[in-house]
Structure formats: C-alpha cells, structure tokens
Amino acid sequence: MRTLPLRFAVFALFLALSCGLAYSAEPYGVDLNGRPVHELAGPDTRFLVLMFAASDCPICNRYVPEIARLDHEYSSRGVRIWWVFPNPEDTASIVARHNQEFAIRERTVLDSQQSLVHLAHITVTPEAAIFRVDGQGMHQIYRGRVDNRYMEIGRERPQPDHRDLELALDAALAEKPIPQPAGPPVGCSVVFLQK
C-alpha cells in the first residue's frame, strides 16, 4: 500500500533537494550478500547516481545496457552508479540471479526499508536520482527519467534523442545549472511497503 509519509509528499510537489549523510550509522540497505551498506560514496565520488529498478520490470531491464554505458563512461570522472532495488519481492537471491542474467556489474543495494526511495522521492522504476557528494553529505540535484525513449507505456521511440540523466551528469561535472528531466519517468510503480 502506498504510504508516503506526509513530509515527503510535500517535498514531492516540487523537486526539492534532500540531504543525507554520505556515511550513515543506519545502513542504507543491504548488499547481495546480506551485508549492510553504510556508505554509498567512495573517497573520490563527486556524484552519486541511484538507479531505482525492479527485477521484474521489463522497462527497467531494457535500460541495463544504457546504465552499463553510463557507468563505463562516467565512473572515472567521480561518478558512482548504484542499482537500487526497493521492492519487497526483490530479495537478495532474486536480484543476484537477475544481475547475473543481465550481466549487471554495477554496485547494487537492496533498499529493503525503502529509505533510499524516500530519500530520493522515487515512485517509479526505472527512475534515477543524482546526489552531489561533499563534506557536508549528499545533496540531491536530479530526479527522473534516464531518457525520453518511453513517453508512456505503449508510446516508445525507436531510440532516445534526449538523454536527460546524461545531460544532468554532464552539467553537474561542468558545475553548470542542472537541467531537469523534460518528461515524467515511465515504467513500473514502486511497490511501497505496507505500514
């Protein structure tokens, strides 16, 4: 059942900047071996990309090659990409098998408590969030679609011609104003935890 806490619902009305700590005493989630993940950014990380996904969502899966490309092109430039699986059905073993099947090599965290979902105000998979990482913590600078391939379910471009996430990353790295996504994310609803 959808149970967004009120404060997040208010934030969600406009693209607010949420903040978090680069290192959290409370783990962000667990990795595929069940170990808590306390740290998302590394020492050289300038920007953190959380790529929210669901193993059973076909649109997420079709973005796997694109995320691998972005990771390949941006990882040496201080960008760290995580796949984040927030749905309760996506257990460690299911996601491990999924990552193997789709040859996903990027870091992966299970957002079992959906704290990252709430931190980034995500409602749909696939949806991306970019955080700037500095001494004070993590500051969200982008939330939204990867590109404009999907306009809605059933209206799809043969290939994207506007790569929103990549444009945002380029602007961030160039320290320019961050362009926000030109359209809504299209995909599968996050299965929110019932309270």
């Binding site: 059942m1 059973d56 076909p58 899966n61 079709r62 796997v64 090659p65 379910i153 043969p158 609803s189």
Partner: protein, 757 residues
C-alpha cells in the same frame, strides 16, 4: 504426355509484404484459443457502483479472458497476471494501459469492420478495473475466484507432423533498436503436403513481437544469400520469386504471441512442395540482455487438397510515399475495382513507424459503402491480421479504397528520425510502406470461366502499372496473368513492352515464347526460344520449351536433339528426362523411352510425366497390373492432378472395377469441373453400374460444356433409350450424325430404332 509450360512466373509481389503476414484469428482460432481458458464463470454478483470490486469476483475473470493468454509464466507478455499477487503488483500499470487502450492490443475502431476475436476491452470492464485500483486492489474471498487457466509451454495441438527449426540460433543484442530478421527454414520433405494448421514456438516469446511466415516456393531468398541465410537476413520486407506457375499467395500466416495456433478453415489448407522454403520474418525487441532465439515452426498436415482457393491482394501506394520532413499529415490513397465477385475473409493493414490514420473501405456497385477497417492511431508494434466474423461479400464492380495518413513530425514519438528527415518507401524499418492486404475468396464462379484469381491478378497488376508504368515485376505478372487467362495476343504485347524495358531478361523472353505459342504463332515462339539460347546456350527452360514445342508439332528428331542438349545443361531435371522419354516413345523406341522415364523417377520420385508415360507404355504392352501401380502412385503423389485420376479410372474401368473407377472420376471432375471428357467418362461408368439417371445427367453436363462431341450425343441417346425416352434418344442419334454423318454407332442405333418401330 504432360507438358510443363511456363504459365506464370510471379516474382511474388504479394510476398513483398513485409509481413505478408498471415492470419492470426479465424473463427477456428477462436475455438482453439478458447480451450485455453478453463471455464470462466460469469461473476454471479458483479460489482455495482456501490460495491467495491474485488480481484476474486470481478478482476480475475477479466484478466483470464483478456490478458493471461500472453501474461502467464513463459508466455509472450513481460510478466504474469495469473495470481492475485501478480494483479496487485501490476495494478497501477493495468490501470494505465487499459485506460489508454494500449492493452489488450487491438487497433481497429469498433463499428468499422465486424471482426472475429475482438480484443478490445469493453467500457464496463475498463471502469471496473479503474475502480478496483483506486479502491486499493482488494482480493475479496479467494474461493470466489475462477480457477486460473492452464497454459502449456509446448505444442497446443499436440505433436506436429513436421517441425522446422531455425538452422542457426540467433543472438539478439541486449539493447538498441528493434530488429527485423528473416530466417530461412527449408522444407525437407520430398513430397507435397497440405498444411491445415501451423504453430510457432519462438523459443524466447518475450522478445518476439510478431512473426510472418512467407512461403518461398523457389528457395529464392536462400539463393540470393548463399553465405548468410543460415544466420538470418536483415530487413522488414521481402521479395521472393514465386516460380513458374501461377500460385499466388493465399493465406495470411501471421503470428503474434496471443495467437498460438493458426488453424485454417476446413477446405483451405496451404501447400508445401519439395524445394520450398518457409521464411520466418520476425520482429524482435531487445530485452536488456542478450537473448538466443531458436524458433520452431510446427506444421499439421491434412491429406485433403484445398477445395477453396483464396488469394491475397493489396491496395498500396508506395510510389507516392515521399514524405517531407516535419509533415504531420501526409496522405496517400489507392483504389481497385474488383473484376469478380469475392468474399473478403481478412484484412492486414500495414505501414511502418510513421503510419497514423489508416482506413480501408469498399463502395459497392449500388453505391453502398462497407467499411473494411479503420485504425486511428497505427502502431507497428501492435499490428495484426484481422479476420471478419463473417465474410464480406463484394460483387464484381465494387471499388476498394484505402486512405492512409503519415505523421513525419517530431511530435510522432515513433518517428525513427530525430530530427525528422524526408522518408520514402523501402524495406528498412526507417523507410515507409502503405499496404492494405486483403484475403479474398472468389465466389459465384461460372462454369467454363478462367481461374478468377487470374482476373484478380490481372486487375491488380494493371492497377499497379497505372501507378508505376515501368514496374517490371508488375508488368511481368500482368503479362503472365494474361497468358494464364488465354489472352495470348495481349500477353504477347505486354511481354514485348517488358522486353523493351529490359531486352536481356531471359525469363521474359521465354514467357514471350510461351505466349506466342498460345497465340498460334509457334514459329515465332521458336524464334523467341532460340533467341534466348543464342544469348545463353545453357538456358534450360528455353531449351525445354523449344523441345516441347517441337514434340507437340511432331518434329521428333529436333525435339529429341533439344531434350538431349537440355539434359547436358541441366542433367538433374526430371521433367526433361520424362519429356525425352515421351519423345522416344513417339519414335517407337520403347526401351530407351522407359530408361528416360525411370531416370526421371530416380531424380524426382513421383514425377508425374514419368509415371503417366510408364503407365501408358505398360498399358500398350498389355501389362495393366503394372500400369495400375504407376497410376496409383501418380494419383497419390499428385492428388490434385485430374489427369492422373482420370487415367487411373480408365484402367480400373477396363479391369472391371467400376466402383474404383467411379471414385477416381469423381475426384477428376471435382478438380476440373469444366472438362467435358471427365463428365462423359463418369457418365459411362455410371451407366455401367446401372445408375442410368445420374449417367444421363453427367452426359448432358458434358455436352453442355462441349456440344460438338458426336460420341457423346450417341452415348446420351443410348442411355435415354434405357429409360424408354425413345423420341429424345432418336433426336440425339440424329444430332450425332449431323456432327459426323458416318458415325457408325449412331447410324446403327438409329436403324435399330426404326426397326423397333
């Protein structure tokens, strides 16, 4: 002797349909689909406006009826919708896609063509799903849910008679644009079969959007791609060569994930011959990981040849497709006047990514308008063949219309080009097409008339030539249709026009020879064949036709020499050996003739000419048992050869087995209802077994078809005498004598009558 004439060589324009795809759902398909569903009880208490809908009572029946054929584990849908947990997981998406009508996939507007197996969700069900999701998707009482349907991962109709597999599994990339690929599946059997049903197991159903099966009767695509056909050939549209006989495409063999078995209506199977290939034309969608496609096609045979011969024809306007960049409403139109009465069985609208609003309709001779189809928002991903609930009767003179609009603006998200560019017709997915394919069945065919499909072909090709006068394929098909209709003089001038465009085209010049021969200008025909041979001395078809012409004009020596020369160029052609055998037989060289017939059979077991030739030789030699064997083999291998059945009947009748003779003649008459000789023979056999009234009937039919047969009039008189119709019988004997004054039997019969009186 059976003569193989080149009647029509049709580089199948029909098959250039990209998706010359074929039929998903006929009435029969409905039946086959329905057995997928375990009985779905109508909800006893459907949710009213005041009652919250539940999954068990309200939603599950809708999903089981409309969604789970694809959305089940292992099915073509990207996820399953069989359980409550599934429905709940995908509830918000179900809401989105049913409200937008993206799902279930169904493009035609209601009220513009009455189709079978309509997938459109009704408004009540849509409203119910909407309320269920907004009411937080309650499950309700689990025991109230209907039992979930059961889906097998294997052949739906049981083990197929033949399974064809893609020669080399194909790996689809993880990402990128959609892929259109053609896999060649050679038909491995050495005998003709009739296919009553086909199933496709795509291997990985989730990546296969749809598939079309095209019959390549001459293996032409494989020959065009000798090095790479096994890995599949890229491209959306196909052009295959349909060979030397008029054999137009007849069936939509179109497959999509929710139409697992394509069952043809009774009496309308399609044919596969040795040497044919099936081409699996597939639209594949990358899934995010590399996928291996190892598709299988299962075929189910019937021993019965078709009794109804439908045909595919198309309205199209590719010549006008030159769409400026940015044009959001580019319109093309086409029309075609039907030369014969037809029933339209199905329709397959087709465009690529820019197609937008697509209409097809018919204006009947009385001015009445009948809609064939209207698609307001074309989507290539959801294309399909649509079958009519009942056939639409369109009388001769009806004008078929299509009007397609294209959106080449940036606002069309499916536009493959960003920014938009000028787009023309072509084979690649980023090119465009504008086709409206119809499956038509000629009806109200008059006895003695030419094959109505030839008239349709002639009209269709003339229509294409009006649009593109120098289109060589259309001109060839047009000329070939004229030849088939026996309009040889017109055919000659059409072939001459074609040769003016391309004087080096060997096949056209051979076909010109055939048309000249038909027009009675056999000397010119010989010149035409010789001209081909002057340019290419190894032109086997030309030499065959030349030798055959010589044989028919009793120039046995030349015929023998040319058949022998033909064997030197094409030693593996069974027909050449059989025809040489026939020539030698005419030259009274029995032993040599027999050797050639045997050689023909070695190359092609079941070769008709060889079997008939051998049978004739055995009959001449008084070995009727052996003759019977050859003829039985011929009739079995060529169930649609009236000649084989008729000859077999003749031998049966001679040996006194009138009942078998009767069976064979009935087949011959069914195959060639306008052949007076068959009716005469049938009359004789009926007379021999004492069925006098039917015998009289058959003889009258024969004489209606050809009234110049003195024997026939005499025989009719004899039969009538047996029923006491003396006056009529006398008139018939006199009729015979008017035709042939010295007809001995008629004379004797008349004399007998006079004596009696």
């Amino acid at each position: 002797m059976k003569v193989v004439a080149i009647i029509a060589i049709l580089p199948a324009i029909a098959t250039c349909v990209c998706l010359l795809g074929r039929p998903p759902e006929s009435a029969v398909h409905t039946a086959s689909n329905q057995h997928l569903f375990s009985a779905v009880p109508a909800s006893s208490e459907p949710a009213t406006d005041n009652v919250t809908p539940t999954w068990s009572r309200d939603v599950a029946p809708i999903l089981y009826k409309n969604c789970t054929t694809c959305h089940h584990p292992g099915g073509g849908g990207p996820f399953s919708l069989l359980t409550y947990a599934d429905a709940r997981r995908w509830g918000p998406q179900i809401l989105t896609v049913t409200q937008s009508r993206f799902m279930p996939p169904w493009l035609p507007e209601p009220g513009y063509g009455d189709f079978a197996d309509v997938r459109r969700l009704d408004d009540r069900d849509r409203a119910l799903l909407k309320r269920w999701v907004s009411d937080k998707m309650p499950q309700g009482e689990p025991s109230a849910a209907p039992p979930p349907p059961h889906y097998d991962q294997t052949w739906l109709m049981g083990k197929p008679d033949l399974v064809l597999k893609v020669t080399r599994p194909f790996t689809l990339n993880a990402g990128g644009t959609d892929v259109f690929r053609n896999f060649v599946l050679p038909y491995p059997l050495k005998r003709t079969e009739y296919v009553r049903a086909m199933e496709i197991l795509p291997g990985t159903p989730k990546i296969v959007h749809h598939a079309n099966v095209v019959i390549d009767r001459t293996g032409s695509l494989r020959r065009q791609h000798p090095g790479d056909w096994e890995s599949g050939i890229a491209g959306m549209e196909l052009l295959v060569d349909s060979g030397n006989r008029f054999d137009p495409d007849s069936h939509f063999l179109f497959w999509k994930p929710d139409s697992p078995a394509l069952v043809e209506p009774v009496g309308m199977p399609w044919r596969l011959d040795p040497g044919s290939d099936l081409i699996l034309n597939m639209h594949l969608k990358p899934s995010g990981k590399p996928e291996t496609l190892d598709a299988q096609v299962g075929l189910y045979f019937t021993p019965d040849p078709p009794v109804k011969q439908p045909m595919l024809l198309a309205l199209e306007r590719d010549d006008k497709l030159d769409i400026p960049a940015g044009d959001a409403d580019f319109v093309v139109e086409d029309s075609l006047t039907l030369p014969v009465d037809v029933e339209v069985l199905g329709v397959y609208p087709h465009a690529h990514y820019l197609g937008h609003d697509m209409k097809g309709w018919a204006i009947l001779p009385d001015g009445q308008k009948k809609w064939l189809v209207w698609i307001r928002d074309w989507d290539i991903d959801r294309q399909a063949v649509y079958r009519y609930k009942s056939p639409i009767l369109l009388p001769k003179g009806t004008v078929l219309h299509m009007r397609y609009s294209y959106d080449n603006s940036y606002a069309n998200v499916r536009n493959p080009h960003s920014p938009p560019v000028r787009v023309r017709a072509g084979n690649r997915s980023e090119d465009e097409m504008g086709h409206l394919w119809l499956q038509v069945l000629p009806v109200n065919v008059q006895p003695n008339s030419v094959d109505p499909r030839l008239l349709l072909e002639e009209t269709w090709m003339r229509n294409r030539l009006n649009k593109t006068p120098t289109d060589e394929i259309s001109l060839y098909n047009y000329a070939a249709a004229l030849t088939g209709e026996g309009k040889f003089t017109e055919a000659v001038s059409a072939f001459e026009r074609l040769l003016a465009l391309d004087s080096a085209d060997e096949r056209s010049r051979i076909a010109l020879g055939v048309a000249l021969d038909g027009a009675g200008k056999w000397h010119e025909a010989i010149d035409s064949f010789r001209e081909v041979l002057r340019r290419n001395s190894a032109a086997c078809d030309a030499r065959f036709d030349l030798a055959d012409l010589e044989l028919r004009h009793e120039q046995l020596e030349s015929a023998e020499a040319d058949f022998r020369a033909d064997i030197a160029s094409c030693p593996e052609d069974a027909d050449v050996h059989s025809s040489l055998g026939a020539t030698l037989q005419a030259e009274n060289q029995a032993e040599a003739a027999q050797a050639e017939f045997r050689r023909g059979l070695q190359i092609a077991p079941g070769n008709l000419s060889a079997l008939l030739g051998l049978a004739e030789m055995k009959l001449d030699a008084g070995e009727s048992e052996l003759a019977l064997q050859f003829l039985k083999e011929a009739a079995k291998a060529h169930p649609d050869s009236a000649e084989a059945h008729e000859q077999l009947a003749r031998v049966y009748a001679q040996s006194g087995d009138q009942n078998s003779a009767l069976d064979e003649l009935k087949i011959a008459v069914r195959l060639e209802p306008n052949n007076p000789q068959f009716h005469s023979a049938l009359s004789q056999v009926l007379g021999a077994i004492g069925s006098i009234v039917p015998a009289i009937e058959e003889q009258r039919t024969a004489l209606q078809l050809y009234d110049g047969d003195a024997d026939g009039w005499n025989n009719l008189g004899v039969l009538e005498l047996r029923t006491g119709q003396t006056a009529t019988a006398r008139a018939d004997f006199e009729h015979a004598l008017r035709l042939q004054p010295d007809h001995p039997q008629a004379k004797a019969n008349l004399a007998h009558l006079r004596r009696e009186n």
